[in-house]
C-alpha cells in the first residue's frame, strides 16, 4: 500500500494527461480541443511539482531561513513557470487559428474541416 501511495501522485499526472487526450480524440469543437490541450499540459505541472517535492522541504526562497535549509527543488519549479507562459501563448495562437478556420470554413467542428483549399 505504501508503495502504491508513493507513485500515486505520478499516476494522477498520467490520468490528467489521458483525460486531455480523450478530450482531443473525441472533440466536436475546436475551442473544446484547445481547452483539452491545456488540460493535457496541466498534467506536466502536476508531474513536475510532485517530482521536485521533498518531505519537510521549505520553499526555495531564502528570506529569514539559513541557506542550508532543505528546500523543494527550484529547478522543476522554474521549468513549470516557463511551461505556464508557453501554454498561455500557444492557447492564444491556437484560438486565433480556430477563429480563422471558422471564417474560412464556416464551422468549428473538426469533422467538417476535412477538405483542403489553396
Amino acid at each position: 500500500m505504501t508503495a502504491f501511495l508513493h507513485i500515486y501522485p505520478y499516476l494522477i499526472a498520467g490520468w490528467i494527461f489521458l483525460c486531455g487526450l480523450y478530450g482531443i480524440a473525441t472533440s466536436k469543437h475546436l475551442v473544446h480541443m484547445v481547452i483539452s490541450l491545456a488540460v493535457m499540459q496541466t498534467s506536466t505541472y502536476v508531474l513536475l511539482l510532485n517530482i521536485g517535492y521533498r518531505v519537510h522541504g521549505a520553499a526555495p526562497v531564502f528570506v529569514g531561513v539559513s541557506p542550508g535549509t532543505v528546500t523543494v527543488d527550484p529547478v522543476v519549479q522554474a521549468l513549470m513557470l516557463t511551461d505556464i507562459v508557453v501554454e498561455a501563448t500557444i492557447m492564444a495562437l491556437m484560438l486565433a487559428m480556430a477563429d480563422r478556420a471558422h471564417d474560412r470554413a464556416g464551422t468549428l467542428s473538426p469533422d467538417d474541416l476535412r477538405m483542403m483549399r489553396g
Partner: protein, 245 residues
Amino acid sequence: MTAKWRLGVFWVAAAGFALLYFAGVKNLPPWGHYRGLYGQMISAVTVYERHATDAVNAVTYDYRGVDTLGEEFILFAAVLGCMVLLREPERPSEMAKPDKGLSETVKATAAASFASLLVLGIYLSTHGQLSPGGGFQGGVVIASASMLIYIAENFQVFKRITSHPLVEALESLGAGFYAIIGMVPLGFALPFLTNWLPLGTTGTLVSSGTIAVISCSVGLEVTAAFLLLGYTFLEEIISGENEEA
C-alpha cells in the same frame, strides 16, 4: 475515420501510454524523497554565488537563462503569429459604435484598481530576485490590469492607451534587451549570459546582478506581448460584431 474508429484508436493508444507510464514511474524514488542533485546544489549556492534569495528566479534568469531566452522567443513568435493570423486587410477603424462606457462608480473603481494592480505588477517584476514573482508574473498582472480600462471605458480608449507602434516596440525591446545582456560577456571572452553586473548586497533591491535586470526586461516583454494579444483579439471580436450589425 468515424468517431467510433477514432475512439478505438484512442483506447489502444491510451492503454499503451498507461502501461509505459506506469513502468516509467513505478521505480521512481518515493514521493517526497527527490534525489536530483542539481536542484539541491542550486539551493545551497544561490545566495552565495548570485546574492539572490529566490532560487527559482535564479534558475530561470541565470543558471538556466538560455532556456528562458528560448522560451521568451516562443512567446514572441506566438504573439507575432496571432497578429499575423488575425490581421485585418482593410481595417474598419472608427466604425465601432462610440460606446460611452459603464457608470461613473465602475469607472472610478476600475481606475483605482488599475493603479494598485500596476504598482503590484511593477513590484513583482522588480523584486523577482528577492521573493516569489519575477518578470513573467509581473508582466501578466500589468497586462491584465489594462483590461480594466476596456471594461470600464470602451475599446477606443483601450486602443489609444495600448497605442500599437509603441507597444510593439516595447515588446521587441524587452526580448532584444535580454539577448543583449546575454551577449555583453561575449565581448570579454566570457560565456553567454554570464552574470557580469555587480552582485550588490543580498536582500536589497539592487542585488543579484543580471537576474534583476533580466527580470525587468522580461516583465516589459510579457506586458507588451499580452497587451498586443488583448488588443488583437478584442479588435477581432469588435470587427466581427460590426459585420453582424
